[in-house]
Amino acid sequence: MATVLAGNGAAAWGFRLSRVQCYPYYPITPSTACSQQISRWVNDGAMEAVTINAESEHSAASQIITAGKSVRAGTATSSKGLLYMIEVLENAAGGGVPCGLYIGNRATGAPINIWADNSDAYAMRDSGVIQIFAADAQEALDNIIQGYRIAEDLRVRLPFAVNLRGFTGTHAYEGVEIPKQEEVDRYLAPFVPIYPLFAPEKPVTYGAMLSAYPYRRHKRNQMAALSHASEVALKSGREFAEKLGRSYGLFEWIGDEKAKLVVALLGESACAGEVVTRHLQGKEGIPGVALLKIRLFSPFPAKEIAQALHQAGTKALVVLDEGLHHGGVLPPLAQRVATAIHLHLGGQGPKVASVIGGLGGSEVRQDHFQLMFNLADNIAEGKPYRPEPYWLDIDEDPIFAEREDQVSPKLWKKWGEIWKKQKRKEKFCAPIPPDAHEIRIYSRAGQGAITSAVGFTGAGIQNGYQLLTVPAFGSERRGAIITTDTLINFHKERKIRSFTRAWDVVILYDDTILQSPEHQVLEGLKEGGALLVNSSRLSVKKIREILNANEERVKVFTVPAGEISQRLGLGHLNMPMLGALHKVYEKVPFKTALSYYEKHVPRPREVSLESIKQGFAETSDQEVKKVKKERRLSVSQDFLDWRPEDHSQESWPSALEEVQL
């Protein structure tokens, strides 16, 4: 059965199963939890490795390079940390050191932004490192194992980096199949150094000064080795499928075989694109559509991608970049794709338009993909389009503008002719009916909502569904209102990893959130959806009054979670709230969920279980006698020490201990 892990936890498993021997690190959001987990394992003796608390990313990178000459080495980083590493990473590539990096992709600023985009990965693209993009936690785990396989191949011997989008990838909890150690051992042989440091029979010097004559020859060799990585990646991806059951190519073609319209991109945002592609496929008046989810970014599989586009007879290709080109002609991915098409297909290839989106944590939503497919359709029809990147989700400069007064005269002067000809089409852009259930929790940072959502995710997965929990992280202080979203997908085969934000259930951990001017709790709640409020003092009627909503609009439930916790001496609200959720949302039956909770709830287990049960029992949509005063919990010290990222390891995935290795 799948274990509930966040992307960072899954990456840590990737390193652990690869039997990494040396892991120096310097923590940085959003990849910290990976390093945390590994140092915990090393400390507990679960993993045989040397961890080094480096004094900077620069040192951590220097250390994996030194270690990587003799043993299998890895580290994790993000954003500026990666930029700080790049200076030395060229030595890893130039020195032929096959070490591994896991990168939680994040913006590089300025201004400071801790959220996701591919700026950091793009900044390292000229450092000679093999760059692989993962779209979810499972892929992060699998790609780290394969990364070592590719990097250590004798035709390659170069460093690699596995990229996963920050937060929606690194902090999203989902079911991950953790392979057995023996299976991985059969796939990935132990590390054998070619030129180890300290081999008495063959002492070597790395990084000696070379003059022009040998230098240019060495660089020619290095490029040849890197170009082999693409063939090796394909082969080792195939073998991964044979031995571990999940197949990987250089890119994934999702959708119609004969796709006239294609959207190409890297990484996690593809999950929303997948939903849209599936929705548009076979719709009346829509030609073949596909999503080109590129896994290997460096070395770029130019020929293979050109071939695939040619075979599909693609007419128009929209490339989404989650990073900038800073003076270049097109952003990095679009530029690579366009060059590939130009070189291999010449005039026969599809037209390429570039879109910049997903910057600094901007979500690339389903409706954005609809727009991009719409744009591709217009281009395929021969409509003019911008010879420079479009911008996603910027109202002042939309992809389609119907009227002149929608944009500034200056912009209209520049792009008016194109806007006039480009039409937004209903058949592409009509809203996609939700295919999964979605639950949103509004809580205060520190109330433990993530723990309960992660627990619920585990119970749902045990029940045979696919679940995904994405907490929102920000620069909030403790006590600020945060959201945690969970998606329940009932289709076994069909992956859904993208929210429509039409909530079936909204949960308030605190009745004061009802008064928050910033939060309209009914916003996005489906007609007739459920609202669950932790409150001892407010009646269902009163809540309806506050929200001004009748019974058709919303089913209101209350639970005195604070009272229950206080009664049982628990410092948190999340356990009773978890029980209450089962009363409100019955798709994950309480009885089967309990069997999961029995094994997995945070300690003290009896108390946690009891409060889940009482939470379930005391939830009601009826008027119950209310106490006058809201109970406030005295918050325990552990609770104050709580940090979001701990949740990827400690609270729920006690399941980790139960994975038999």
């Binding site: 020195g95 032929g96 004798l154 060799n221």
Partner: protein, 212 residues
């Protein structure tokens, strides 16, 4: 006000920290038990790493390797062509891993990662660089008691000859680039240990050399 002293738990075996008010001082470890030394593994095999070998088809044909099917390997290599290499890992003479692969290098004389194999490096003749000849007078040299010049020489041109009493240092004329460093650094300048062009220590030359 009483200044209470409080010792902090220390991971060091010899020293510990004491806190007095807001002052922290270090002192020898007193009554608290020193942390146990981590037991090192007695197994020596992990200490040194063994390098793998990478052989060309000629090298494999010349000396067949025990423990692998050499004829099959050779035919596999022949299929690939001159770029074929055999990767061989045999830490204690026993083959643990081998693999035939195609060498990615376009310029095969440059090692992977531009690594230099120290034992195969041939010393360069840099005697043409020097404009003076440097020579150690063995009578003055302190031999293995000193060795300062040998440490200082940037070209590793100075070697110790002999052992104990009667040992001395010698300059390899092919490796010496004539930088004057040994001459300045020699602890026995007064004894005219290092000769430049057969001349003893000469303040005028020194002044000229250092622009004094």
């Amino acid at each position: 006000m009483t200044d209470e002293q409080q010792a902090l738990p220390s991971p060091n075996r010899y020293k510990e920290f004491v806190v007095t008010g807001s002052l922290v001082a270090m002192r020898d470890r007193q009554d608290s038990a020193a942390p146990k030394e981590i037991e090192r593994s007695q197994d020596q095999s992990g200490k040194f790493l063994h390098a793998a070998e990478i052989l060309t088809i000629e090298e494999v044909a010349r000396q067949p390797v025990d423990g692998i099917d050499t004829p099959r390997i050779l035919s596999e290599m022949a299929d690939i062509g001159p770029e074929a290499r055999l990767f061989l890992y045999r830490p204690e003479g026993k083959v643990i891993r081998y693999e035939v692969f195609e060498d990615p290098r376009i310029c095969p004389e440059i090692h992977r990662g531009a690594v230099i194999e120290n034992l195969q490096e041939k010393p360069k003749d840099v005697s043409g660089w020097s404009t003076h000849e440097f020579f150690i007078d063995i009578k003055g040299c302190l031999g293995d008691e000193c060795g300062r010049c040998a440490i200082m020489c940037p070209e590793n041109a100075i070697h110790l000859m002999g052992k104990g009493k009667g040992s001395f240092h010698e300059i390899d004329p092919l490796a010496c680039k004539g930088c004057f460093i040994c001459w300045v650094e020699c602890v026995r300048t007064a004894a005219d240990c290092i000769l430049v062009d057969g001349k003893t220590f000469d303040p005028i030359m020194r002044a000229k050399h250092f622009g004094e």
